[in-house]
């Protein structure tokens, strides 16, 4: 899932913090999340349509919705029960994990590249994301 077929890194001057391998790694992290999501979401959609061919919009709005990061136990129970919509939610989780993961990756490379301000910024962003996913959602609920 990459754009141009040529390798731009060969033509660009070196980046002191992010090596060409770092760019490739971030790209692979994001690509992995998308592939996982597409497989899980497509499989979940097909299974749900197969199991409930007569469902309408009001049917899906009246059934229990997905459980987020604040209710992982309930989500896990539905996943074990083989609920197709739980597999779609798992795909969404995969994308969330890769987004958080790539910020962690940036923080890691910034620390190793002795770019402390950038490393601190990325670390604060990770903490804020975790706060939003696990704390603020639960408080609002």
């Amino acid at each position: 899932m990459t754009g141009a077929s040529t390798d731009p890194s060969a033509r660009l001057p070196p980046d002191p913090t992010f090596s060409p391998e770092a760019y490739v790694s971030v790209s692979r992290i994001l690509r992995g999340g998308v592939i996982a999501f597409v497989i899980l979401a497509t499989g979940g959609m097909i299974a749900e349509l197969w199991l409930h061919p007569g469902y309408t919009l009001s049917s899906i709005l009246s059934t229990p919705q997905s459980f987020g990061p604040d209710r992982l136990a309930a989500f896990y129970a539905r996943l074990i029960a083989g609920s197709p919509t739980a597999f779609i939610t798992l795909g969404v989780f995969a994308m969330i994990i890769v987004v958080v993961g790539r910020v962690v990756f940036v923080a890691y490379h910034a620390f190793h590249g002795h770019e402390r301000p950038l490393a601190y910024i990325a670390t604060v962003v990770v903490l804020l994301l975790l706060l939003g996913l696990f704390v603020i959602g639960a408080v609002v609920a």
Binding site: M1, T2, G3, A4, T6, P8, R11, L12, P13, T17, F18, A22, Y23, V26, S27, R28, L30, R31, V34, F37, V38, A41, E48, L49, H52, P53, G54, T56, L57, I60, Q65, S66, G68, P69, T85, I88, G91, V92, M95, I96, V99, V100, R102, V103, V106, A110, L118, I121, A122, V124, V125, L128, L129, G132, L133, I136, G137, A138, V140, A141
Partner: protein, 284 residues
């Protein structure tokens, strides 16, 4: 409407939204949310949930391609996330309060007017293929907000330097609030910050915006999950479709001129501005 009809229709519309979104630096959520409300009679909250997941898909798909092609500026995107993520948390939390008031339509109209006001500025730069050599400000120098990208079309390395960093951070903070409030990536505001304030080339601006919107939406998605607003059978076709569209768009962008991308962005900006005002006026 049968679910299978809804799923197939949504998949097709989402492909188009993802394609345009990846070219213009947007998530596609601003297209999908109103389509779900207006054409499929989906309640607004569920439309926002589906739109947020589709923005995640666009961001990850386009991000993977643009980071690989070194069009995304990892450093600039990462630094500006410090402003947009707190904004998204504030915006997402504010949805709880604002949903019970009449402030949302007013905010929508205000946002639409702000977007319209930026159109003449974008048009004035329509002949600009690469930004002029600018003097970076103190913050830009402190965080090394400069970089290079290889322009595939012109077969040359283009160097750029950021300026007006404080303005860019303020716009990013506002983009975060809007993103949290309406479940969108706020790519239009991010591109404006990167293009008009920092003065990055359009390709780098749209690519870096696509990279950032995933983080902005992730900050608010926990609230949407907790509120039961993410319906898997709405989110899945919207996000799979936008991922497919974004994949196609991300293959095309490196081969386009910055001028053409600016035209696409300005057209989308104008349509979105009008749509936002209409949504506010009719409280959609």
């Amino acid at each position: 409407m049968l679910l299978i009809v809804l799923v197939v229709s949504l998949l097709l519309i989402a492909v188009a939204a993802g394609f345009v979104g990846s070219l213009a630096g947007l998530g596609g959520g601003v297209v999908l949310a109103p389509v779900l409300v207006l054409f499929f009679n989906v309640p607004f909250g569920y439309a926002i949930g589906a739109s947020a997941v589709s923005v995640l898909a666009t961001a990850a798909t386009s991000g993977a391609a643009y980071v690989h092609d070194r069009l995304t500026d990892l450093r600039i995107g990462s630094v500006l996330e410090i402003a947009t993520v707190p904004g998204a948390l504030i915006g997402a939390s504010a949805t709880v309060v604002l949903s019970h008031t009449s402030l949302v339509p007013v905010l929508l109209i205000l946002l639409g007017v702000v977007l319209v006001s930026t159109v003449p500025g974008s048009l004035s730069m329509r002949h600009e293929e690469h930004p002029p050599d600018v003097e970076p400000d103190a913050l830009s120098r402190r965080f090394h907000l400069e970089g290079n990208y290889y322009d595939l079309l012109h077969q040359k390395v283009v160097h750029y330097k950021g300026q007006n960093t404080v303005t860019a951070l303020l716009v990013m903070f506002a983009a975060g609030i809007v993103s949290g409030l309406f479940g969108i990536g706020s790519g239009v505001l991010k591109v404006l910050a990167l293009d008009r304030a920092l003065r990055l080339p359009m390709k780098v601006a749209t690519a870096t915006s696509n990279f950032m919107i995933g983080v902005t939406v992730t900050a608010g998605v926990g609230v949407l999950f907790a509120g039961g607003l993410i319906v898997p059978m709405l989110a899945a076709p919207a996000a799979v479709g936008t991922a497919a569209g974004a994949f196609a768009g991300s293959r095309l962008l490196p081969k386009l001129t910055n001028r053409l991308i600016r035209w696409v962005f300005t057209a989308v900006l104008l349509v979105l501005a009008i749509e936002t005002i209409v949504r506010g006026a009719f409280a959609l």
